[in-house]
Amino acid sequence: MSLQAFNAVDLIEQFKSWKELFSEQRDFLIALDGQVGDSDLGITMSKAFAAASEALVAEGEGAGISKLLRTAGATMARTAPSTMGTLTATGFLRASKAVDGKNKLDANDIALFWRAFSDGIAERGKAKLGDKTILDVLDPVAASLEESVNAGKTLPAAMHAAEEAANAALQQTKSMVAQHGKAAAFQQKTLGLQDAGGTVGHLLIRSMADFVAHR
């Protein structure tokens, strides 16, 4: 079984998966952020997705996809206003706008979703590509999705390719030097380490690829 398009119910389920994922990865992300940062990432991400998932369940499928994404973003902005929390929130708010009016998200819509997500983060965070941020994972993800759509791929195939792109991009962050956030203070020491925010980006995509593959 696999999913060819997200409806509102699927989206709520996807957020449940993200919630579980970040609860599992909490300590890993704390440790990762702790290497060249302040260890808060695991806490903020698990809080952000737990709150968002619960808000979506409370709101229910009737609200529709765009409204649900907006609730997710607004909830995160409120519950986890760290750098990554606010950037992720901004991502969902922009994705909400990008898919406004749709009640199904196919491969093309998911490409719009992640492009808007990525561009929203770029605009709000003012980071450039190569600055060793989540952008260095999400921009390649959006590009990969756009390519898959042009190549006529199905949603599961497109997400599979996106996951591979995310993983490759995450590996690339190892050769970058952090320019933003608390990691920036570590400069050369960040070389060789994968970016913590980029890791969050990869986890988001991997979870979505799994989700569409197995639903």
Partner: protein, 333 residues
Amino acid sequence: MKKFLNDPVNFVDEMLEGIYLAHPAVTYVDGDKRCLVTSKVKPGKVGIATGGGSGHLPLFLGYVGDGMLDGAAVGGVFQSPSAEQMYQVTKHIDQGAGVLYVYGNYSGDIINFEMAAELADMDGVQVKHVVGNDDVASSVVGEEHKRRGVAGIFFIYKAAGAAAAEGLPLDEVTRIADKARLRTRTIGVALSSCVVPEIGHATFSIGEDEMEIGMGIHGEPGISRKKMGSADLVIDEMMERIFTEQSYNRGDSVAVLINGLGGTPMEELYILFRRVSQLLQDRGVTAKHVWVGEFATAMEMAGASVSILHLDSELDRLVAAPANTPFFQHVGG
């Protein structure tokens, strides 16, 4: 982890409850304890708001009161408050004269204060930003915009707060805050880690005989980690950094802030100040205003920072003005 707390998840909110119970001079808006404002907004005055992560008391909220700030958005431990919270504080303290945001140079705070300003702008509230970046250890000369904000923000609060209390308009208060920012330099040294309650173990480890000069107040790395030296040598090395940044001439006056990071006894802070004072005297520079104590902490971290504000006559007057906040009182003069 050895801390006085109940459920770590409630650390910040229970702390805030304690603060509201102890200090009726502050209250909160929007039904959200994390939106702290003065209990008596002054009609017509320029509002000054700040905000940032918890765990740094008296920063940030401790300076809300007469002669200093009007509101502070309170984040989780070492985490930014939300844009919404900043916006609620802004709306409440605006008296038609606009609001100045003074906060530290951290990406989470910047992103959220900018979002808050956009929201406030839609309500027609004029907002200006002054972003503290006093920590000389966190980036080189020429890259000052990358520097972290640390204890020196106290001087920005003090000068801007006094200016607003004098009734100056937003542009003037902003000019003064920015001048205080440009003339403030801080350098810190850490001897031990702190523990974030929800994490439960030390943020970083450091040897029993080591210190790290330039470490940030969340445990960000500094310039050099080395064997603990004598107090005088530590200060000599720290002050060297500050002296190469600004030209202090014979006859100049400065304000000095010796700040404990939380776990260091006051006795030691005075031993540090003694040496700072000697070095200033050697250069013919007068320490005209001196504060020694805890002004910007990192919970139980042992360590200290030195902030120097290069005075001119305007800053001299404003720094000396009276202030009365829950965590800081100054009888003018």
